[in-house]
Each structure stands twice: as C-alpha cells, then as structure tokens.
C-alpha cells in the first residue's frame, strides 16, 4: 500500500438508498481453493446464452469439434458466439431443457467428449495493433459476456461515449449476494490475471481512472488484488473496499457508492462517463485477447445443502447434476437455485447444463431456508420502499401488478426494478413482491410484442388493399391501351390491304376489328403449324398438294371478305361503350 491514492480508506465513498443485510453465508464455500471439475462424457451447449440474438449453429451432427472451436456464430452484433467446451463429436443439435424458470427447452449442440480435450488451433490476433472495432468483433466471436449473471455481450459495453470519453472504469468485485463466492476465490487465486484484464480494458476504453469495488467482508481478495495492482505498476487502478450491504454489487448501486453518480431512469452509465464490468469478465477478456481462449469455462460456486461446498472451474455445457454430484448431494435438498437466495431462480431439474450465466448452484433444504410464510395483505407499512435500492415504491407497483393494471405499474417505474428482492426480504406480510414484478414485466413485454405485430399486420393489410386497388387500375389502363393499340394496328392493316377505301367504319367499331385481328393471328398460327408429313413427295403428289393449298387460300380470302362485309354492314352504334369495361 505504498501509494496513497490506492489506500482504500482515504477515498470518499457514497451511500445508496435502501438495501438490506442478510446473513452472508459465504464461509462455507469460500475457504477451499477452486477445484477443476473432471471432464464429462457429454456436454450440452445451448446456442442462446447471452442477451440478444440466438447464434446460428456452425456444426452438424457427426462433426468432430475441438476445444474452443466456435460452434455457434453470433447472430448480428447484439449476440455472442458459443464454443465447444472440449474435443469430441457433435451427436445432435436438438432442444434440451434449459436452466430457466420456465422449464422449457431450447436448441443446444450436444457433444460427446472423446476424452482427448484437444484444443483448436489458436487464432493469431494482436489486439495491440488492431482497431478498437476489430477487438470488439474478436470478443464477440470469442463469446465473452458479462459473467456477473446478466450475460450482456461484453463487446457492446467496451465502448466509451464518444463525446465525453470514459472518466471511470468500474470493476465489480462486490459479490454482494449471500452464499456466492466465485468472484472472491477468483480474485484471490487469479489476481494478477484479473488486474491484467482490467488494465487491458482500461486501455481499450481510454479510462482516466479505474476503481475495483470489493465488499469489505472479503479482506483476502482485497489484499490479493491490491498486491497485484501494485506489482503490475498500475497506478491508476485503485482497489476500493466498500461497506458490505446488499445489493452493493448492483451496477447502479456500485457506481453510486464509488463515484456518487446517480444514473437516472433509462440512461446509460456511459453518458455519465462510467462503465461497469464484473471481475470474472475482466479475466475472460484477458484470456481471449492474450491467450486466444474463447469463453468455455467459468467458476461456479456450489453451496447450501451439499457435502463439499466450494468453487469449481466448470466447462460451459457440463450437466448440472454432474457438478452437484461432485460436490455431494445431501439428503433433505428440496430445491435447486441457480444464483443466490435473493435473486436466484429455481431449476426445473438438474438435467440442465451449466451456462455462462451460472455463477452459483444453491441446494435448498428446509433447515437452510424456512418455507415461505403465507402471504398476507399489504398493510402499506412502507418497509419495502425503505429497503428498495432503486428508490422505487414497491407496494404501489405490487398493487398495480396484482390488479393487472400494467400501465399504472409502469408509471411507478416498474422497469427500474432490478429484482434484487430487498422488498420481499423485509415485507412483514411475506408478499413475494418480486414474483409480481416478474409477472407484470413479462406481461408487458408480451403486450408490446403483440402490439408491434398488430401494427405491422395493419400496415401490411392496408398496403395489400392499396396494391389490389392499384392493380385493378393498372389492369384497366392496360386493357384500354391494348384496345387502342389494336385499333390502330387494324386500321393500318386495313389501309394496306384494301387501299384507302372506306376503312373508317371499321375503325369506329374496334371490337369487330379486334376479332378480325385475332382471327388473322389464329390463321397465321395455323399456317405456321402445317402438317409435317409433306416432305419427300413425288412431283404428282406435290402438284395435288399445291392445288389443295391454292383452293384453301381462295376459301380463306372469301371468308376474309365476308368478315369485312359483316363489319361494314352491322350497326356499330352500341358496341363501343362495351369496351369501356
């Protein structure tokens, strides 16, 4: 702690509104070093593991893949690639159960490991000489996403606001959620790598200062990170101990604590010169840029009602049951949560894969977590509003969500709720408030989607009606033009055939003229399609044929004259208006 500016106690810290102090329960899993999970036989890699588009599979069943090989390409820029966690054979691309509260399935690449764990050849990429855009594309293709749990593609966040630049890069090592210790262990064991990653990000974003916020209940991690920063000679990276209070690790809350900046509703933190990343993400970014390693592994805490709580290096796609069996399932486990007790989501089964968002697997038993008490009516005590770190009025949002009055719920800034669970935690009426917010949010999203679809359908319907109208008009116009053209052609041909002798009546009677023209065309066609058995004839036969042809031609001429005389003699007054339609 040689440099005074790095001394954590001298920095002025700020306070965020609300928050709670649940029992940390970190000691169970924090003591042991991270251990590496042995290779599995089968890996299930979901294609969609980040916010944004679903990657397109790059492999088919039967392909051999190598560790780190890209198996799903990012779908557009707001998306992130996925990679094979080990070498082996793709056995299927199929729907598999997801680690998601819905209990639904999604497309996955299923890989049967061959046990060789052969790595894909390293792509040569020198980030130091590459343009910032190229570095971002590289990280997108390396599948680097936020490992704090939000899985937002990191390449999209590695960009400062052009006009104001980046004042402060914040690295989130707070790890405020009870039970979870994966970041704590990572910072203790890989401090040097994390600091290198942080320095790299600070360089990419041209950050003026970098603050690494760690809750003060992790003294070992703080010490390790401070030492690493000092060794690396990174004088503008400061490791800051912050008071332990849930949810200090929320991005907005951490920004507030470290800088005093309050990012308003619906604004980006970069507009205020701040950006925030998780420590695990910093490690993954370094791994990708320095070692050419795509994101195929992460640290996962397994804790709660298990024999050997601890942290594990787990390949993405490892079946969750393998991981928890390794930690030892204890009897009495009633449910499995992915995440911590405050924000975790219940798993539909352990037959789901570990994904990039899996920071913790928590085994819940009756002793650890008492069954939720029955919900009682809201007494409007305001405890929830006191506890809400987003400064919202949870009971109002609850009231309107419950009544399905979604517009009103939104007026109370429902979408600023970070689902931290502080309000439910303090509610004396045991109302599962967050469940109501999740319900209301997903209903609102569904309605938004329906509305967009309806607007699109309305536009397409109106356009179709317009097109049909226009086609009708065009058809009428075409017909009129054709009639006029036909009339002119007849007139011309009549003039050449019969000289200038009285063709005007025919011209006044375009229908007859058209008929005559059509007959002429038909005759021409008939003439063209003469029977072809008239080759190689004897002279006598040829003479007979010629004779017959001459008779036919005469008959045709007569018929033509007849047709013309009909045209001349028939009354022509009523016919033209029929052409109007």
């Amino acid at each position: 702690m040689g440099h005074t500016d790095r001394a954590p106690l001298l920095r002025k810290l700020f306070n965020f509104h609300g928050g709670v102090k649940p029992n940390a329960n970190k000691q169970q899993s924090a003591a042991q070093p991270i251990c590496t999970l042995p290779l599995s036989r089968e890996y299930v890699v979901p294609l969609h593991q980040s916010i944004g588009g679903t990657p397109q599979p790059l492999v088919v069943a039967g392909d051999r893949v190598l560790r780190g090989q890209r198996i799903g390409a990012a779908d557009g820029n707001v998306s992130s690639a996925v990679h094979a966690p080990t070498s082996g054979c793709v056995v299927a691309i199929e729907e598999r159960l997801m680690p998601h509260a819905s209990g639904l399935s999604a497309p996955c690449v299923v890989i049967e490991a061959d046990g060789l764990d052969e790595a894909a050849p390293r792509e040569n990429f020198d980030w130091r000489s590459a343009s910032p855009d190229a570095v971002r594309d590289y990280l997108r293709d390396a599948g680097v996403v936020g490992l704090g749990g939000a899985v937002f593609p990191s390449h999209l966040k590695l960009k400062a606001n052009n006009s104001i630049g980046l004042e402060t890069l914040i690295i989130n090592g707070a790890e405020c959620e009870p039970f979870i210790t994966c970041d704590d262990r990572l910072m203790q064991e890989k401090a040097r790598e994390v600091i290198e990653g942080v320095a790299l990000m600070a360089h990419l974003m041209q950050a003026k200062q970098t603050l690494i916020g760690i809750e003060d209940n992790k003294p070992d991690a703080i010490a390790a990170m401070q030492a690493a920063a000092q060794t690396a000679g990174q004088s503008n990276i400061s490791v800051v101990a912050i008071p332990t209070r849930y949810p200090a690790g929320g991005a907005k809350q951490l920004i507030r604590v470290l800088t005093g900046i309050e990012v308003p509703h619906g604004k980006r933190s970069t507009d205020y010169g701040v950006q925030c990343f998780n420590v695990g993400t910093a490690f993954a970014i370094r791994d990708a840029l320095e070692n050419g390693l795509s994101l195929t592994t992460r640290v996962v805490t397994v804790t709660g009602n298990v024999e050997r709580p601890g942290n594990y290096w787990v390949r993405i796609g490892t079946p969750m049951h393998e991981l928890v069996e390794h930690a030892g399932i204890k009897p009495g486990t009633e449910r499995w949560l992915m995440g911590g007790p405050m924000m975790g989501i219940p798993m539909p089964s352990l037959d789901v894969p570990v994904v990039k968002a899996t920071n913790c697997i928590l085994a819940g038993s009756a002793e650890l977590f008492a069954a939720p008490e029955p919900e009682m009516p809201c007494i409007r005590c305001g405890e929830c509003a006191q506890a809400c770190p987003a400064d919202l009025q949870p009971f109002e949002m609850y009231w309107h969500s419950r009544a399905r009055n979604f517009g009103k719920a939104q007026e109370y800034h429902l979408f600023d709720c970070i689902e931290c669970g502080c309000c439910s935690y303090v509610c004396p009426s045991h109302i599962p408030l967050v469940d109501y917010y999740r319900f209301a949010k997903s209903e609102i999203w569904a309605r938004e989607k329906d509305k967009t679809a309806a607007d699109q359908a309305r536009d397409r319907y109106e356009f179709r009606n317009y097109r049909i109208e226009r086609e009708k008009e065009e058809k009428a116009a075409r017909l009129a033009a054709k009639t006029a053209a036909g009339r002119a052609a007849i007139q011309a041909s009549q003039q050449t055939v019969t000289g200038d002798a009285a063709p005007s009546e025919t011209a006044d009677d375009p229908k007859k003229a058209m008929i005559a023209a059509a007959m002429q065309r038909a005759q021409a066609q008939k003439a063209a399609a003469q029977p072809q058995n008239t080759e190689h004839l004897t002279p006598a036969q040829q003479a007979e044929v010629n004779d017959a042809e001459a008779r036919r031609a005469r008959a045709r001429e007569l018929a033509d004259q007849d047709a013309q005389s009909i045209g001349k003699t028939s009354p022509s007054a009523d016919t033209p208006n029929k052409m109007a339609d």
């Binding site: 969609h48 997801m98 029955p374 999740r438 209903e443 607007d455 319907y461 109106e462 356009f463």
Partner: protein, 197 residues
C-alpha cells in the same frame, strides 16, 4: 366575495362550453374514434366479426352498426378494452362469431403444395411467398393466424399450428396464493375430492 364567485362561475361556464364545442368539432373532423377502436383490435384481419377486416369492423362499431363482442382473436380482454373505451357495458364474446383460440400460424406442407397461388390471393397480410407452380411458404413472423388461406387450398396442405412457447416468449405466471390452512388437516383432505368433483 360574490363578484369573485361570479367571475369563477362564468369562467367555468365559458370554459365548459369551449371544451364541449371543441370536442364536438374534433369528433366531426378526423373521426379518431375509428382509429382508437382499430388500435384495440388485434389486426388478425380474419373477418370472423362479419366485416372484411379490422378497420371495417372498427368503423361499424363507431357508427353503432356492430356490437363490441364480435372479435374472437381479440378475446375477452379485447371486449373489455372496447367497453372501457366506449363507456359501454362489458358482455361476453358472441359465440356466433367464433371462440377465442390460442394464437396459431399457418403451415404449408411443402411436399403436397401444387403451387396454385390461391392461398396467396387469400392472405390478407401478404404473409405467403411463392410463384405459380412453385412451392409456397408462409412467413411465420408475418402470419396473423387468420386461417383465410386454409379453405381455398385445393391440395388441403395448409394446417394451423399453435405457436409454441419458448424460453424467450415464456411469461412468469401470476403468483399463486398459498392458502393459509385455517382448518384441521383432516378437513382439508376431505375438501379436495369435493373440489375436484
């Protein structure tokens, strides 16, 4: 004091009259009511309401020529919204026009399609692509599920498939109330069969 009240009263009357006049004038001009109704309608364009599309139905409602409970795709919620908008009494969906069904999209069995283009002509939102004598396909994202392409198909190769829920479209359920046991367990257990029956 009295003069102040008088001024206020006159002010209120003038303002009220102005507002009333403005609202009448506004209504006469663009007929925004039809648009407001049309925004509520689901734009499936299926014609089940008895009109050749949502806009014509909206116009008929605005003119008082049609009731508010004739649109099955809009469902119960749609009727409620219309009732709210028009200040009318809610009434259940009129079953004569059909019943509310889960949203589906049309699907063409591409092996059987003979490429007659009849479905294209029937589709109100141009969600079918294909050319004469070529296989036809439905653009699922654009299909409103109106079912209008099903009857004209001579090869009977169009089916309606309900849209499956995915991880992305899944919605959190309404929180279930954990009923507080106010009676003894034995009563609760005997209670179950009665409820099931």
């Amino acid at each position: 004091m009295i003069s102040a009240l008088l001024v206020m009263a006159i002010g209120a009357i003038v303002l009220g009259a102005a507002l009333g006049w403005a609202s009448v004038k506004f209504k006469v001009e663009g007929d925004p009511l039809v648009d407001k109704i049309d925004t509520i309608l689901p734009q499936t364009q299926c014609g089940q309401c008895g009109f050749p599309g949502c806009k014509p139905y909206a116009t008929a409602i605005a003119k008082g020529e049609a009731d508010i409970n004739q649109c099955p795709p809009g469902g119960d919620e749609g009727v409620r919204k219309l009732a709210d908008l028009l200040g009318r009494e809610y009434k259940p969906l009129n079953a004569e026009h059909g019943i509310e069904k889960p949203k589906s999209v049309a699907f063409i069995d591409e092996q059987t399609c003979i490429g007659c283009t009849l479905c294209i002509q029937a589709c109100p939102v141009d969600a079918i692509v294909g050319a004469a004598k070529q296989m036809h396909t439905i653009v699922a994202d654009l299909c409103t599920g109106c079912e209008l392409c099903v009857p004209p198909c001579p090869a009977d190769c169009i089916t309606m498939e309900p849209i499956a829920e995915t991880v992305e479209t899944w919605k959190w359920r309404y929180p279930v109330f954990e009923l507080k046991p106010v009676v003894t367990t034995s009563v609760v257990t005997t209670d179950h069969p009665t409820r099931a029956a």
